[in-house]
Symmetry: D2
Subunit: 454 residues, 4 copies
């Protein structure tokens, strides 16, 4: 398995499979098979060695838990893996065994296996990112002019539209797809440098073998080994963490809007979804929960990658190993959040009535800035602001309405009645926000699906 019980419950099954033991071991063996093929093609090893190595690689190397036990002593998973593979090849063809893992080093096998896994992982992320973005586009269009409260510092502020809010969830996701595509174009490259990065045992055939190997595995060949140059790789990890942060913001907004006292949206319900082991009435926002949990965790996993960058000399002593151990978490939690939100937003239950009701309960005070603008010519800014602060407080405490109080206010006598009505027009405010959202939505054209490759 890929993670402990409670971490797996926050991840998707698909992503757990990508970083599962057997997937990673299979990728490591795929590297060894492709290496033999590339080296034979370049005449580095005999052609006759290829078939036994490829066959043994496909056959697998047996129990993984005991492999991990051996790795603890060896200091690297690749060592017992190569030993087992070599023995298996020897069982098929004694001569071929000499050419297993020829010229490679532990880090070549392991980093490339992680690149292959990450390529699949980013494919999953891209698919669900597109799915979530599509839902948010539909919601934006549907609610361009649906009035809702804007809230700043968790207090009512002014009137926007629900579409305006949704487009602010969407834009970072569209940008994330672009940034991830760019980051993976440089980060998803072959690791192949041999013992110290020079491919010393391949003589002058190193570059040619590397090109073939990369092509075979479907990754970019890159510009030499990146054994201790982790910048592109960690930058990719950070982009995933940034995406996770944007998902966390959506989750938090959803959770706040779904509070019973707010009631403006609800996650879809259904069998087995969001109940409680104790309370029959419960409908918990589990997608929001999953996204928030991911956003609580991801910054620390990104930080661990950054902290592991100081790898000494030509291979890390602990730092690289720490990076390997942390890497999958970022993808597990981010994809878990993404799938949960994509599922929830496809069936989001939006309640425009409660949105309007929550605005009206503010008794016009959310138009205080607009009203102030009308009063400034007569009163000056400070007095206008002060008067509206006082009247807003009165509207709240006495149950009045700010517009009515203003009409009755001698100091506001000079204000044009139509202008005052316009300043307090809920729908007009929502339409203005909707126009901004519509324009932004047009600029956020959907990208074609990412292929997961550079």
């Amino acid at each position: 398995m890929t993670a402990s019980l409670f971490a797996r419950a926050l991840a998707s099954a698909a992503m757990a499979e990508v970083f599962a033991d057997r997937s990673l071991v299979a990728s490591m063996l795929a590297f060894e098979a492709a290496l033999a093929e590339a080296e034979a093609a370049e005449g580095v090893i005999p052609a006759s060695a290829v078939a036994p190595i490829v066959a043994a690689s496909h056959a697998g190397i047996g129990d993984i838990d005991s492999l991990v036990d051996e790795a603890r002593r060896a200091g690297s998973l690749a060592i017992p893996l190569v030993n087992r593979l070599t023995a298996a090849v020897a069982g098929r063809d004694a001569a071929a065994a000499a050419f297993v893992h020829h010229g490679g080093t532990s880090q070549d096998v392991i980093d490339t296996a992680m690149v292959l896994a990450t390529k699949r992982a980013l494919g999953l992320i891209d698919t669900d990112l597109a799915r979530l973005a599509a839902s948010l586009r539909v919601l934006t269009r549907a609610h361009l002019a649906t009035p809702m409260l804007a809230r700043t510092l968790l207090q009512p502020a002014q009137v926007i539209s629900f579409g305006f809010k949704i487009v602010a969830w969407l834009a970072p996701l569209v940008r994330a797809r672009d940034r991830l595509a760019r980051a993976q174009a440089t980060a998803l490259r072959l690791q192949f440098g041999g013992a110290v990065g020079t491919l010393a045992s391949l003589g002058d055939k190193g570059p040619a073998v590397a090109r073939r190997l990369a092509a075979q595995l479907g990754v970019a060949p890159g510009d030499g080994a990146w054994h201790v140059q982790r910048d592109d790789w960690v930058a990719l990890g950070c982009e995933v963490a940034v995406l996770c942060g944007s998902l966390g913001k959506i989750g938090r907004d959803l959770a706040l809007l779904a509070q019973a006292e707010v009631g403006e949206v609800a996650e879809p319900t259904g069998a087995g979804r969001g109940g409680s082991s104790a309370m029959p009435q419960k409908k918990n926002p589990v997608a929001a929960m999953t996204a928030i949990a991911a956003a609580v965790r991801a910054p620390h996993h990104a930080a661990a990658l950054l902290a592991a960058m100081g790898q000494p000399h030509e291979r890390g002593l602990g730092e690289w190993q720490a990076e390997l151990a942390e890497w999958p978490s970022l993808f597990l939690e981010t994809h878990g959040a993404l799938v949960a939100l994509a599922d929830a937003c496809e069936g989001l239950d939006v309640n425009p009535g409660r949105m309007r009701d929550n605005i009206e309960r503010q008794r016009g005070t959310v138009f205080a800035e607009a009203a102030a603008t009308l009063l400034v010519p007569a009163l000056g800014k400070a007095k206008a602001h002060e008067l509206l602060t006082t009247l807003s407080a009165r509207a709240a405490s006495e149950g009045g309405d700010l517009r009515a109080l203003l009409r009755a206010e001698p100091a506001a006598r000079g204000v044009d009645a139509d202008a005052l009505d316009a300043a307090f027009d809920v729908d007009a405010a929502a339409r203005r926000a909707g126009a901004i959202a519509a324009a932004q939505l047009d600029r956020l054209e959907p990208s074609p699906p990412r292929t997961g490759t550079a």
Copy 2:
């Protein structure tokens, strides 16, 4: 499994077992069984319900991967677990099924299961902490007066003894055992509060049931539910991270001392230990590697726990779930580091000859402060310091020896020759350090085994 492939290779098998799926599920079921027993003993549920519930709990709830799938929709692992348990009990005794999980909530089951796992985890840590400490005591005693370079800012400083260095590794471990014992005394307590912490469904029987339940499970009853009061729990996690930091310091020192150019210690070698997949001559310091990897990671896992403390109202939405997902990592990495270092220090290869050789290569310059003290009366502090800076540089560049240069130096003519010799006495410096180490060692008496361990 408890963690991804590369994380498991840095952990001990024993700790992986503690937080394994089946262990956690078994603890959750043990909670449900003990709850039934405690409630029956207090007359809250009928005595006849106990046997079927206990039997079904022992029998287990089947496949865990599908449980995790259900948990993703439900928002909590406890919900499908209780559902399956209830169905299993119903299969044995339809009436008893009504009393499964009576009065409890998801968080009660899950937090208590984590407490039980953590108690076992701390037992493992305590055992290997004692083992590592014992080895360090032996090394300290053996090398109280073995001269070695002190190095500050990674540059030669003065002469200490190897025992003096080792006791500085030991003292934080002895303190860690004490701090962990204290922290677990408050943190390892029953979680039991029902839906919102009031045990509302148990009427006035809540406290009595809680006391019985705690006794049955072997944990402290605590002072009410701590659903959203995570301070003691997270403080315990931080103590584990502090221990991990102290282990990382040992690992880093070991790695530096084991560099070929320094060569003062080496990790024990042996079959399958510290080799390379490419280079036959390699003897990699795998214990240091494991400890450094743990110390790179642990700060971030501790930070994630701290970041998860802001759990709203009476149960977290994402924060608690994030904490659950992060908790095992701290224990996995710390115990992995501990076992690796304990193994390595039991067979540490110490090379006093290289230690002395490395001192001598400094050509007396590491006694420059001592020499300065002798020159100050005649020259004043600034001139004395300056002269020794100059002569030290000359000793280094011209291959001389600081003591000889001083003897030839007119400005140093007044210094007593015996005092000068004493100032440059390598063994005397080591003995002075050894005396400090011996005194500190006496104060660091070994503690008896911790009782907090299962």
Copy 3:
């Protein structure tokens, strides 16, 4: 200044003063003065050197910005500071200059100055922790039986009392005072080891000088130098972060309760408090904001301390310096949060009417678990849970009331009417929660003020 503009706005002025440049430099000079006194008392340096050193230390060492410039080249602030102090002493008494900083090293001066600052910092924290705790005690007592919604996963759960919620804010603070007192008892100790921890230049006078020095400065003498044994120190930092996490939880709850749609509490208002530069009606919860900001930041500062523990050999190269740079932030943010919350809770505006109103809007569904218990004998657990899920949904969608729906429900016919009424009794539920809170409050007796010293 102690921090950048926006960090300072989140800190208290008092704590900013504790870690201000001039305070730290003054403490460094106080160390040098006390060192001279202690060494003279033990006959290590001439008595005549004391007065000039003390006088020059009190006089200060001039411009600090240029000191920082010199420190960048030197690699340590103590080096230019000692140089300036030596020159100043020489200006008073040439002979005395030779005895400035005798036997000490940069880390002795700097760490001890940080210990002195931290002692003051913890004194400030203890004072405001006591103040906040006192307010929370008053609020708990006043609202032991004030009914309010419990909310789990940000959804209505059951009925508790406001006092029950407050005591859950209080308990972690009471424990924090205890834990901080314990942590500082071991962490706030003199740093004094000379160049490499052996106090080599003091011959056999080291321990005696250390005891005098510690007594003079009002800190514990400790068990030798802790140049690279950072465990007690970092554990203290972690305790501060844990406290900050508990404050963040209070801040988050306050913010949620203060939402207009919830309206159960409000921070005190007043001139210049919580307004907006744009919106006259705004009353922002600035204490909650300050506490949340602190809790967002503190985990990372604690993690930085943990990450800095791997200090090589006998003095860190970068790690120690990183720790020094990060240390003040933890105290600045935590005390800022504490003062803000203490101020807010002293004048907290509690609205029991809205609390009851929010309960009533749930139409009895928050008693579904209690009702289920009554139905189980007749229906079995699964059916009872299912029925209540259905009726709760109907109550919400059709505007009914769960109790009324149950009364009309044929399947619930057998339930005793009085028992049903009791299950839906808001005040009784609040009283039960209040009784638990009262008992916990009694156990949380106020501690006497901490002296900030061991």
Copy 4:
């Protein structure tokens, strides 16, 4: 000041100035002045209001510490700043005062001021990044074929050249310049949305005012307000942290190479550089220290930014404020590291003699992989590897030389003598590494200075 005493000692004076109180306040006032100009140009406010607002903005708003005190109550620095500016404008022209900050909100002023500071900060980083890169290019060229040990897991591995090592320091820096240029192109944009992001008070003039304002301030206009869309901004912060990680790797390598026992490079010495307050002989690697300290800290500051992304609704409550407080640290520490390394690498003292000496002390064992390749045809892979492990151990313990031992080894009799000599040729190995480095260097063409810099 920008940071506490010890943090400032790790930063550059230039970067401290960028984020200094007075710089940030000046940028906030520059925003207000430019806003008035843009709004007047678009007819939103009277032209007569511009001059007084601009003049008052240039004149400043007085004492900053008291501004911070007011901000603590207000919850935002912008509120007292706008109040003071309004009062100052009123003192010049009562009518103009009404138009101060028209249509803007606190976050517009503050975020844009941070963007302006960050633009300057990135300019400083780019300059010193170019400087460091230039030095590294020179070093690479000079040492393309200078033999040195490659070290993996801190143990001798094989032979590379110093140029090969340096180019691996350089490449991440070249990529960092590109990535930073790309990241700032999207992140450095105007913040301007008014109270809730809709620029409601500007009617339909919002976009036009925004364009003028952006042009005036020299930043990109962007695609609407990013009040709670922090992805581009935090991604930029992460890129700075990635750069810092690459600098930390250089610092760590430098420190390891500068150890007395290794002695392959030394930082430049000079007056006041790298001394000790106690030990006259000390030459501490202060640039390495500064870089390592930065790399220890930066991951946590990046994580804090990521953790602050979950800003609720239309403005954060604590999260935004936390981000503001953390932002400068990343730039301070990264530029401090950069300047220190650029200074050190310009005068780096390289010791090819020690490099060769350290290779020779390995007694040929670093060519064991190459030798194994020669033995494989005769012995098979496993036996060849095993024989070389045995002989390497013997070379180390008995003081022999691996090549001589092989020549004397019956099992190796069939190996061609010339091929064996070639396998052990130090200079040939260095030349092969140098050829790789030369090719990579050619691909890493220097970029022109970034235009994003002020």
